[in-house]
């Protein structure tokens, strides 16, 4: 693995990334073109170019384009956040949810439905984001109190414990109030169906800020992968790098989960897939994850729209079903697994 990575120069990476971007563009095009309203290619181009009067203009500009853009943003965010979490906690099982993001968002949404009487999924974005942010702050504060700051095992354990405590609150709320359960179960699957351009407007700033933080972290995460002492010797400010990483994950994953509900598998699987393809260099892992994750998410979304037309399957379900076999096949193909 290592020798392969060393031989691959920047040009090879540039070529591969271009290829991945081309795939992403193709998937985006498919996401705009395919859906329950069938449009001929000419009608499609008409609708895209002339925004007035043509057949399907509403379907394209009100539904599919925002949906594709949100999928793009959410996918990239989850891929990035997953890659950062696995490096930060040095645990191949870590997904963005381990900081309590998903549980926090779920608590926010359940309380919004039960206590504040919210009836629509669209209004839940801010509650979800507030919950996610609060949970992460709690986990990070508790996780960094002991000796040596927020060590990987502490973060993972505190995150899981917070997860346990928060999800208990969610279940208590759901079981005492079946109306809330009724609304919550549709949120908890994770779906792009309910998003519109307003959703995009609510989350894009967080996604951009998170992505900037994340991409700036690559070299520091590389050094952290060697262990704390080595990283410190190489001039990395360990505490600050960890804090930045947590901030990036909160922004990215919190906004993504708030927008579309929890999509569990993507953040876990994509970094593993990328690492199997290109090796463990964080500087490349992050951009690759950022391109491959939205391709996977949007492809799954398109698939979900097609296979049970005119109904649709939620993207969270398809992502797990399409992604898991890929990851299993990759894992079976490798002699050693799990090293980061």
């Amino acid at each position: 693995m290592t020798s392969l990575t060393v031989r691959k120069g920047r040009t090879a990476h540039a070529r591969n990334l271009t290829l991945a971007l081309a795939v992403l563009a193709a998937v985006c095009a498919a996401s705009v073109a395919l859906g329950s309203a069938e449009l001929s290619p000419s009608a499609l181009i008409d609708a895209l170019l002339r925004r007035e009067g043509a057949e399907g203009v509403t379907a394209i500009w009100e539904l599919r384009v925002p949906r594709t853009l949100v999928g793009l943003g959410v996918g990239a965010a989850l891929g990035l956040a997953g890659a950062i979490m696995q490096s930060l906690t040095r645990n191949p099982l870590a997904d963005p949810g381990i900081l309590g993001v998903n549980a926090g968002a779920a608590t926010g949404v359940a309380l919004a439905f039960a206590v504040f009487g919210l009836t629509d999924l669209r209004g839940s974005v801010w509650f979800a984001f507030a919950g996610a942010a609060a949970a992460t702050v709690l986990v990070y504060t508790l996780g960094s109190r002991g000796y040596g700051g927020a060590t990987p095992i502490r973060l993972a354990l505190v995150g899981t414990a917070a997860d346990a405590a928060l999800l208990s609150i969610v279940w208590a709320v759901l079981l005492l109030d079946s109306d809330t359960l009724h609304r919550y179960r549709f949120w908890s699957v994770g779906s792009l169906a309910a998003v519109d351009s307003a959703t995009l407007g609510q989350i894009w700033m967080f996604l951009v800020a998170g992505a900037v933080f994340a991409l700036a972290l690559g070299p520091a995460l590389n050094a952290l992968a060697l262990g704390e002492d080595a990283a410190r010797a190489l001039g990395v400010h360990v505490g600050r790098a960890r804090l930045l990483a947590v901030a990036a994950v909160t922004l990215l994953c919190g906004a993504a989960t708030a927008a579309v509900g929890p999509i569990f598998f993507l953040g876990l699987a994509v970094p593993h897939i990328v690492r199997a393809l290109i090796g463990p260099d964080q500087r490349w892992l992050l951009p690759y994850s950022m391109v491959i994750a939205p391709s996977l998410l949007l492809a799954c979304d398109v698939l979900g729209r097609i296979i049970v037309r005119p109904a649709e399957l939620e993207v969270g379900i398809i992502t797990a079903f399409a992604g898991a076999p890929v990851l299993i096949a990759l894992l079976r193909g490798r002699k050693r697994v799990g090293e980061l």
Binding site: P92, G146, L157, T160, A269
Partner: protein
């Protein structure tokens, strides 16, 4: 994953009898005994509380057979089965979790991570939605689902031997797929079935009968001693296969045996009470921190799990007045909260 090492050497007593000797780690023994005592005390309180309150003395009188007919009926027929099931399920889940965390060498490697719980849940959901939701149908299909999920993970991860990291990751993949199936089934169910499913998915010991008690206690009685006897080999496996093989452990065989025992224990517990959340994850971690020994603390985990369940069940019955919550709701809050507090208080993880 890194493991916590104790800074001070562990104090031990050597027990000798004839040609047999056993090194007894002192702190672990004291902690386990203390946990058992507290568990029994909470158990007596739990037997005495409810719509027909009894004093601890009356409870003990009823248990020994001279508490009067009413007290006798309430304790022996209604409350004791529930308490015994809670004890057994807590111990079984905690030990299953302790063994799996050791085998996978990962603090997050509990049965719900590797797909066992999700498989059982898929089975139970099908039992509720397709077979109509009788309790025998749910329990049976849960066991079948859990076992199938585990076999699938084992076969998919097996590649001339089983390595911890691959096993866990394949388990996570299978768990993700099954979780998607479960979410799909719940969104497509009618609201009444969804409610029943949600209650089952959280897990509860309400409505336990003596039949449940027999099932879980037989499983514990057979499998706990077996796993305890294996714990020294498991501790060596935790150091890596090379070291373990060098020290005379048949790694693959020991791992398969431990995996089978731990899964059987977990499956029976889930079939009895549903996948009580977070006991398998938190109880072994708490036990490890309290005892400070290396290797899986089997007996301490069992005691911790039982205590967690009994306290949670008591809280679930009494905290919310008329609304009876399933036990699993409270295990997460208490176990997770306690782990958080403990991690926040200690200077080392």
């Amino acid at each position: 994953m890194t493991r916590t090492l104790t800074e001070r050497p562990v104090k031990r007593f050597t027990l000798r009898a004839g040609g047999w000797s056993y090194l007894l780690p002192l702190r672990a023994a004291v902690v386990t005994c203390a946990l058992v005592v507290v568990t029994l005390a909470v158990g007596v309180v739990s037997l005495g509380s409810g719509d027909y309150p009894l004093s601890p003395a009356q409870v003990i009188a009823a248990l020994t057979g001279d508490g009067g007919t009413a007290g006798q009926f309430v304790v022996m027929r209604l409350r004791l089965p529930r308490l015994l099931v809670a004890l057994g399920v807590g111990a079984a889940l905690a030990v299953g979790g302790a063994v799996l965390q050791t085998l996978t060498r990962n603090a997050l490697g509990s049965p719900d991570i590797i797909g066992l719980d999700r498989g059982a849940a898929t089975g139970a959901l099908l039992g509720i939605l397709v077979l109509g939701g009788g309790s025998a149908a749910i329990a049976g299909s849960a066991v079948v689902g859990g076992a199938l999920a585990l076999v699938a993970v084992y076969l998919l991860a097996f590649r001339g031997g089983l390595r911890g990291a691959r096993f866990v990751l394949v388990g996570v993949c299978v768990a993700a797929m099954l979780g998607a199936v479960n979410a799909y089934l719940i969104t497509r169910a009618d609201l009444w079935s969804a409610n029943q499913a949600a209650t089952w998915l959280v897990g509860s010991v309400a409505g336990s009968r003596w039949g449940h008690v027999a099932a879980i206690w037989i499983a514990c009685g057979v499998l706990l001693p077996v796993l305890a006897a294996m714990s020294s080999r498991l501790r060596l496996l935790e150091m890596g296969d090379e070291v373990a093989v060098g020290l005379g452990v048949r790694a693959e065989r020991a791992r398969l045996a431990a995996l089978a025992c731990a899964s059987a224990l977990t499956c029976v517990a889930i079939a009895t009470a549903g996948p009580i959340l977070f006991v398998a994850l938190t109880a072994p971690q708490l036990a490890r921190r309290l005892t400070g020994v290396a290797g899986p603390p089997i007996w301490a985990s069992a005691a911790m799990g039982a205590l967690l369940m009994v306290v949670s069940d008591l809280a679930a019955q009494r905290l919310f007045g008329q609304a009876q919550l399933p036990t699993g709701v409270v295990t997460g809050a208490i176990g997770g909260g306690y782990l958080l507090w403990m991690l926040g208080r200690r200077r080392t993880a």
